[in-house]
Amino acid sequence: MADFTNGFWNLWIIVLTVLGIAGCALLLWQQSSWKVKKGDQPVAGSTTGHVWDEDLTELNNPLPRWWMWLFYLTIFFSVGYLIAYPGLGNLPGTLGWHSTSEHDADVKQAEAKYGPLFDSYLKQDLKVVAADPQAHAIGERLFLTYCAQCHGSDARGNKGFPNLTDNDWLHGGTPEIIKETILKGRHGVMPPMAAAVGSAQDVDNVANYVLSLSGSAHDPIKAELGKPKFAACAACHGAGGVGNQTIGAPNLSDKIWLYGGSIDTIKETINKGRDNTMPAFGEFLGEPKVHVLAAYVWSLSNKPSNAAAK
């Protein structure tokens, strides 16, 4: 990757670095001894003549010579470093080290370490994986890392994000479908239906009818008026509002609501529609991890011990 847009700055850095190091070496060499007129040279053990705090003086003793060699050593080290590692402008260094390749190597190492474990799970049936306590623990960690932001740490969802611990599924709740959902993502769209339903009064009536489907509190007269208008909705949600998992249309006849079950929320849904996206994790996590994750999510609403018996 080019750090600089033209070669000048690259060269500029190289020249500055080299001059800096050479300058330090020169200064050190040149200053390690100097000529003075005879009689002017300081005497060891004498003071610099610098007095402070009334009687505090500074001794004029030379530094030990090994100290100077340490300075030279740092210069030697810096030259060696710049040859081996990238540091001189864009020059890559003879060792070919790069932070990105180091990261890649780390990832590869982790994959080599944990890959076989995930691969062994991938070969097993999802329900078997769900019954494995170790896979469950791994799945929970994956869930807390990648899924909890939307679906909550307890997997019970939020407004607009489905609860994964009940048995109500938008696209189907078999482990295979859950896996597909995680791998490929989902896009749930409900178009704005106000125009198809009719007037604002009609929308109010339909909303009351929808509430009546699940036996929730509603206005029976309005619901009766709204019933014929529901025909516009039945195309997706079915005649009795039981939903359709093949197109992801929610079941309206239970008390589980994705956005909330109040009359105002339902009216808002009818008027404005809803657009809901579950991102695809397949490419990002890879199938082996998704496999474990799907088994975990399925197990949240299905006790794997029972499933094995079924």
């Binding site: 003075v36 005879k38 001794l59 100290w67 960690r141 307890d154």
Partner: protein
């Protein structure tokens, strides 16, 4: 601040200025004799400390034995089926006998450093560089290395002779044997050091099989090299030029701190015993016979008779040397002794010196040190081997579920720092009728960490709209006293 500690008194008249010749190169060969070259860096002059016996030398050897017994021995002690003292960096757990410290317990490490710092202040204010003279690793290892050197190369004069000699078989084998012995001690020191971080009983077989990890190898070699270099080659250079403590210790000194002093009034003028005996009535003879024993035994090569110097590490070798000489010439001991500047100047007696211990500086250091140590020990005793972090779910605020119950989701990071497994119950308090689901019990094995998502529920209408302060609590089933309570925020949606 004690200024005398920074500036040595100048040498007596007639003394050659120290190192004067080493620093000056006279003239140059091409006839420009009007100029002299001044070197900014001086070569080290080898110091050949003479061996000395005496009270303080014995005390130092006792310290050498004690510190090395602890340093080399501690990694080999086992406790509860593991190494008693092990700083397991990879697992991030520090084992100290029954105590297991986690990264969260670093506050105690900070407290330990504070205790060490104030101890140093206190000891320095009372008795100067006692740490340097008796317990500092630099001193201790130099002492061991010097002992080896004496065993192989002989005493001071023999060593000086050997170094002046041209290379011979005798010199070669003595030097090789010395360096081999030094390197062996240094290597063992390096291995023991790494043994504090990586179980030492596994370390030795791994060395045998050449199966050490890169970091273990690096630190063994590094620490061994540092020991060999510092105790064998650098010696007093470390104390004089590298040690930061030598640079700031004068700030903790005052004129009532015990230091190693030469009693000028008693010692001067120096003269041999015979000359003193011939002296006329009324003229004064000092007790110092200028035998230079105090200079010969000094590991930093200074002359204590020039007064207090920062290069003096307070090892009291000169005290032992001078005492032995005074015994021989039948004069009272203590020409060079532990005393204070005030005592020397004003002729205090020992009780008077002792009374001056109770000065504000000492009392304040003691009070602070005592407080920190009691807090440190107290908090260690009452610490709970259970930790709880409460992380609110950011994705969901409070949500209303059936019957108007308000539910908040938390992730509990539970850390059982105990070396036994426990089962814990989870509860919450702060709002009337709070319940936790699941309330447990959750089971944690010894030193296990677990992330538990929980829902905390408040009944309909309870709590203020907005945020409420609650506490989430954990209690061990088998040990009710083992419980923690952690603050959390419970959100109730606005109605």
């Amino acid at each position: 601040m004690n200024k005398a500690a920074m500036t040595p008194r100048q040498g007596k008249e007639g003394d050659p200025p120290p190192q004067a010749d080493a620093q000056r190169d006279q003239g140059s060969k091409d006839g420009k004799d009007d100029y002299a070259v001044v070197r900014m860096y001086a070569a080290r002059e080898q110091i050949y400390p003479r061996e000395i016996q005496g009270r303080f030398a014995s005390l130092r050897w006792l310290c050498v034995f004690l510190t090395q017994l602890v340093f080399y021995g501690l990694p080999w002690i086992n406790w509860n089926g593991r190494q008693a003292v092990l700083f397991d960096l990879a697992a991030r757990k520090f084992y100290l006998f029954g105590l297991v410290l986690w990264p969260q317990d670093f506050i105690w490490l900070a407290a330990l450093l504070i205790i060490c710092a104030f101890s140093l202040f206190l000891f320095t204010a009372i008795a100067g560089r006692v740490w340097c003279g008796y317990a500092c690793p630099q001193t201790v290892y130099t002492e061991i290395f010097l002992w080896i050197e004496r065993r192989i190369e002989g005493n001071r004069s023999a060593r000086m002779r050997l170094d002046r000699q041209p290379w011979s078989f005798d010199k070669l084998w003595r030097k090789s044997a010395k360096h081999f012995a030094w390197a062996s001690v240094a290597l063992w020191t390096g291995i023991s050091f790494v043994g504090y971080f990586s179980p030492i009983r596994d370390l030795l077989p791994e060395i045998g099989r050449f199966a050490l990890g890169p970091w273990e190898s690096f630190w063994i070699v590094f620490y061994a090299f540092a020991t060999y270099g510092n105790a064998g080659w650098m010696r007093e250079q470390v104390c004089k030029y590298m040690c930061p403590y030598a640079r700031f210790q004068s700030a903790m000194f005052d004129r009532d701190s015990l230091v190693i002093t030469y009693d000028d009034a008693r010692g001067e003028p120096r003269m041999p015993v015979a000359k003193a005996a011939r002296l006329k009535e009324g003229s004064k003879a000092g007790d110092c016979i200028d035998c230079t024993m105090c200079v010969q035994v000094c590991p930093t090569g200074i002359d204590i008779r020039q007064g207090l110097q920062y290069m003096c590490i307070g090892c009291a070798a000169c005290v032992d040397a001078c005492d032995s000489v005074m015994d021989k010439i039948d004069r009272p001991r203590g020409l060079i002794r532990y005393s204070t500047e005030n005592a020397i100047e004003q002729g205090f007696s020992t009780p008077e010196i002792r009374r001056r211990l109770f000065r504000p500086r000492i009392l304040i250091y003691t009070a602070i040190l005592g407080t920190v140590i009691s807090l440190f020990l107290g908090s260690l005793v009452v610490r709970t081997p259970l930790k709880l972090d409460v992380i609110r779910d950011r994705g969901s605020m409070g949500r209303e579920v059936e019957d108007g119950i308000i539910e908040n989701v938390y992730r509990l990071q539970v850390i059982n720092t105990d070396e036994r497994g426990h089962r814990y119950r989870i509860s919450a308090s702060g709002i009337e009728g709070l319940t936790v689901d699941p309330a447990g019990p959750i089971e944690l094995a010894a030193t296990q960490t677990l992330m538990v998502p929980v829902r905390v529920r408040a009944p309909h209408g309870a709590g203020e709209s907005g945020s409420n302060k609650i506490h989430i609590e954990l209690q061990a089933e088998d040990q009710p006293a083992l419980h923690v309570s952690e603050k959390a925020v419970f959100l109730v949606p606005r109605r």
